[in-house]
Each structure stands twice: as structure tokens, then as C-alpha cells.
Symmetry: C2
DNA sequence: ATAACACCTGAATACTTGTTCAGATATCAA
DNA sequence: TTGATATCTGAACAAGTATTCAGGTGTTAT
């Protein structure tokens, strides 16, 4: 392993790490849009409710104590970012989490937030 | 291993996974605040610039093509979320990334964004 | 066909957030 | 002390976003 960075003056995290270049405006925009979607408490509550399993819009609305309309609007946003998928069955629409990325993001953020202030 | 959820109808990601309860309003709020900070393209550009190593405010401003004032405002936000740390030396203030969480978040998001639409 | 149900959508309002400008603070050099 | 440099901050404006309300679509039951 090269020690030019890792051994002595590593005052800064990740120098030479996985990013190591200034993001283009376009890439930065895409990142921001994605994380912006996760920048709303009601969407986090909806996402966390879906960790319990698939749910209809009405059930979700009841679970997170929002109107169905508000939930529906937020679900559209989550759909756009492909964080949830849905399935029509009868007159109901069942939503569920699309993949596990949301868990990893949740855990990574939790760790960060729970870190001592050093 | 219990198979009541995992074996047959796993249409939904992560049911019974690491969250598995509706987030409290407070926790959801904290999550949203954190991710909201990452919901701005200029902040991503600043963070990515810092992956190259520590930088002064003026250098950062030049690197990301923003005014020093704008950079300073954004650095305060990043400081508040403990994403960057800083060190005064002489009349300059050197900023750098505080820890590696930002890399993991970046990679996780990249993977999600690069996923095919299935 | 009609009514009830489940969900979605557009438009308007209210709220939040980013950027700019002007000026403040703090450090260094002469 | 004076002037130059480097950064920070508060207030105001502009821009973006969430929520509500009213009404729309599509499905099921009678």
C-alpha cells in the first residue's frame, strides 16, 4: 500500500479517495437532486414505513399521519428518483422500497449523526 | 432464520431490515436536515474540491467558481453538519473533509443513479 | 348505469433556502 | 497606526419547494 498519503499528515479525510476531482456542474446537480429528495422529513417517514413491507397509499397516509393527497405527491417524488416501486392491484396501489440503497444511506447518515463531536 | 418474510413474497426491498419502524418525527427531521445539506450542487462541488486535499476559502472559491462570500456561507452549513473541519493558520482558514462518510454516501448515491431503469 | 372507493393531479399559497451586497472582524506587514 | 488581505456575517431579495384544496381518472360493486 502506498504511504505517501496514508501514513503521516492525514489531517483530511479521503484525500486521493474515491472522488478526487471537482464534480462537474451536471454531476453535482444530479447528486443534489437525489439527496434533495431525501431532504424532507415526511419522505423519510414514508420510506421508513415501507421498511415494514408494502403498503397502500391510504395505509401509508394513516401510518405517517398525512393526507392521502400529500402522501401521493411525495410518492411521486420518490417514484421519480426510483426509490419506491408500485404495483396496482384492484383499486389499490401498493408501494414498496425499490432497492437497498436507501438502507445503506440511512445507516451511513445515522453513523455520522451519532458520532461524538470530537 | 425466520422465513415468514424472507422466503416467498420478497417483492419489496429490505422488509425487516435495519430500519423496520416508522421514524419518529424528530429522527426524520434530523435525517432530512442532514440530507438536505447534501441537496445543493454547489456544496457538492465544494466537498469534491476538498477531496483533493485541504484548501483555503479563496482557493475553494476559485476552484468552484463562486464568490468567497457564497463559499463561506456554504462552508458554515457544511461545518454545522460536521462534514468539514477547519484550521486557522495565519490569516487563512484551511478547510478539509471531516471523515469518510461523505465518500460512502457519494458512492452509494452514484450506484443508485447509475442503476438501469429496470 | 350509478354510486362508492382509492388514488392522482394542477393550481395557488405559504414556506424554506440560496445568493448577493454591504459591512464587520481579525491577521499581518510596513 | 495604517493599509492590505482573508474570511465571516446579517439583511434583503429571488428562487425553489411543500402543502392544501378542488376536482379528475379509473376500478369495483349493486
Amino acid at each position: 500500500m502506498s504511504d505517501s498519503v496514508s501514513s503521516q499528515s492525514k489531517a483530511c479525510a479521503g484525500a486521493g479517495g474515491p472522488v478526487s476531482a471537482i464534480l462537474s456542474v451536471e454531476k453535482a446537480q444530479r447528486m443534489a437532486e437525489f439527496f434533495g429528495v431525501l431532504g424532507d422529513p415526511n419522505r423519510w417517514r414514508i420510506l421508513s414505513a415501507l421498511t415494514l413491507g408494502e403498503m397502500r397509499v391510504g395505509e401509508l397516509a394513516e401510518a405517517v399521519e398525512m393526507t392521502e393527497s400529500a402522501v401521493s405527491h411525495q410518492l411521486r417524488v420518490l417514484r421519480t428518483m426510483r426509490l419506491v416501486s408500485y404495483q396496482k392491484r384492484g383499486r389499490s396501489v401498493y408501494y414498496c422500497l425499490k432497492d437497498n440503497h436507501i438502507f445503506n444511506l440511512y445507516q451511513e447518515a445515522s453513523e455520522h449523526l451519532d458520532e461524538p463531536d470530537d
